[in-house]
Symmetry: C2
Subunit: 287 residues, 2 copies
């Protein structure tokens, strides 16, 4: 019988999964074991600190439910979500719009509205117009693309977090017209704090970080034969652009209000999609 | 504004905690960010795999409650708990008994019984006697040490998992006598599977690992001015000694039944404690 030591434990744990029938899962779990153990060895993780970590994850689990996803928030605030997004969407071609995080507030089934509609549901705020074109370098304008939009109200809350807002407020789906154009009315978004009354908020406080996101409007744009684009537009001048708590803001996605001919504060932004990859050479999924 | 990329995201995230007022927390979180991001980059973690990971942790959180701690089970099965235990209790002096995992089934407040008592509460099984001495190299026999004992029944279940067993069955605390000796009666423990109906069980199955622990009896031994020893005795010949799912078995803790003069199957084991460290030079705790 081999005696387990600090030095041989990792190799022993990796050996144990030699029978794993899914090569990709084996690869991911092997790397996970190495990094998890190296982390613990590097910091000489104490038993008390381990207990603190277990209690923290338990709290994250306890507060997570249908309406609140504290594990995603944890991943977001540690930069893991942004990293996965950057790897999946490198946009090295510079032909397509940069992606940004989906975030925990996306909801399926937002109402489909006609171009030009107001999505603000009457909440107080400074009115804006948002418009632009959906296209691709390959084919030009894309007609009939679905533009799924969601944002927080000027009080910093999404409909899910705010009893004063009607169901599905500040959410809608639009269709680009024959020239690929879309347009809707709304109110100016505000910077806001991610939920900070749970364990992740306590963590941010303990490590000296604020919980704020810069003002933004989310977009998810899909069209047949194109890769779905998940992104967001960030408002120029926001004080949290440089320090977005979830590492979501991107230079190429910062927009400024332009006073238009009708005396509206307008955001003009054209989205460029990537074509769908021809053959799938993705890594086999872990299920 | 700095544009975030796969390459500069980790440095950016680490910079953000430069204001952390707790140096130890800053050290641990910095190492965590590096290893978490390096893991994701190394395996090129896909968005779908990230979602699978979030769903897995959410399930671990959902199933965890007062009676079931799936995060500890996850840590145990990944070898993290054993690694933290090995680092905290290197026992390089070879003067003291090796430690082993506390595990998720320890309960405070087991009944204090007289030496020689039977802890089996009448469950069917092969009777055994367990006895030995508590001592330290420095002072010899330790009288009045508390020997906290717990084990699974021959059906592989702890009282917490088994409605057929009375409350606190197969659990007790004994006091070593003036010669440091302890003794109790019980039944032979059996190898058993850790709870495998939850997400950790599914994970073990997916990576080709069994969920079994070799037969063992837990001990937690405490005495004033000595370090509390958390350990377990493992039964020689068990087929899972080499592949304990939680990496808990240790060569020095393997014992065999000896037929004694009274025709009992007996385990004889002497525990040696370490004195309490003089001054605390531990890392500052993370709270």
């Amino acid at each position: 019988m081999r005696n387990l030591t600090e030095e041989n434990l990792t190799a022993t744990a990796v050996e144990r999964i030699s029978q794993c029938g899914n090569p990709r899962l084996k690869q991911v779990m092997t790397a996970l074991l190495h990094h998890l153990h190296d982390f613990a060895r590097e910091v000489r993780l104490s038993e008390e600190e381990w207990r603190t970590g277990i209690a923290f994850l338990t709290e994250v689990g306890n507060i997570t439910d249908d309406k609140r996803q504290e594990f995603i928030l944890l991943s977001d605030t540690l930069g893991l979500s942004a990293l996965v997004d950057l790897m999946a969407n490198p946009n090295r071609s510079r032909h397509a719009t940069e992606s940004s995080l989906l975030g925990p507030f996306y909801r399926e089934g937002a109402p489909e509205l006609a171009n030009g509609s107001d999505i603000s549901g009457g909440v107080a705020g400074e009115p804006i117009v948002v418009r632009g074109q959906v296209s691709s370098v390959e084919v030009g304008a894309i007609a009939g693309a679905c533009i799924d939009v969601w944002q927080a109200a000027p009080n910093g809350k999404y409909d899910l977090q705010d009893e004063a807002q009607p169901e599905m407020n500040l959410r809608a789906r639009f269709r680009s017209d024959l020239e690929g154009r879309y347009q809707f009315r709304s109110v100016k978004p505000a910077s806001y704090g991610v939920p900070s009354d749970g364990p992740v908020g306590k963590m941010l406080n303990a490590i000296g970080r604020h919980p704020m996101r810069p003002a933004h409007i989310h977009f998810r744009i899909s069209a047949p034969r194109f890769q779905t684009l998940t992104t967001a537009l960030y408002i120029a001048g926001d004080r949290y652009l440089e320090s977005d708590v979830v590492f979501g803001a991107r230079c190429s996605l910062v927009v400024d209000y332009q006073r238009d001919a009708d005396d509206h504060d307008a955001i003009e932004f054209d989205f460029a999609l990537n074509p769908e990859p021809k053959a799938s050479n993705k890594n086999s999924a872990i299920r």
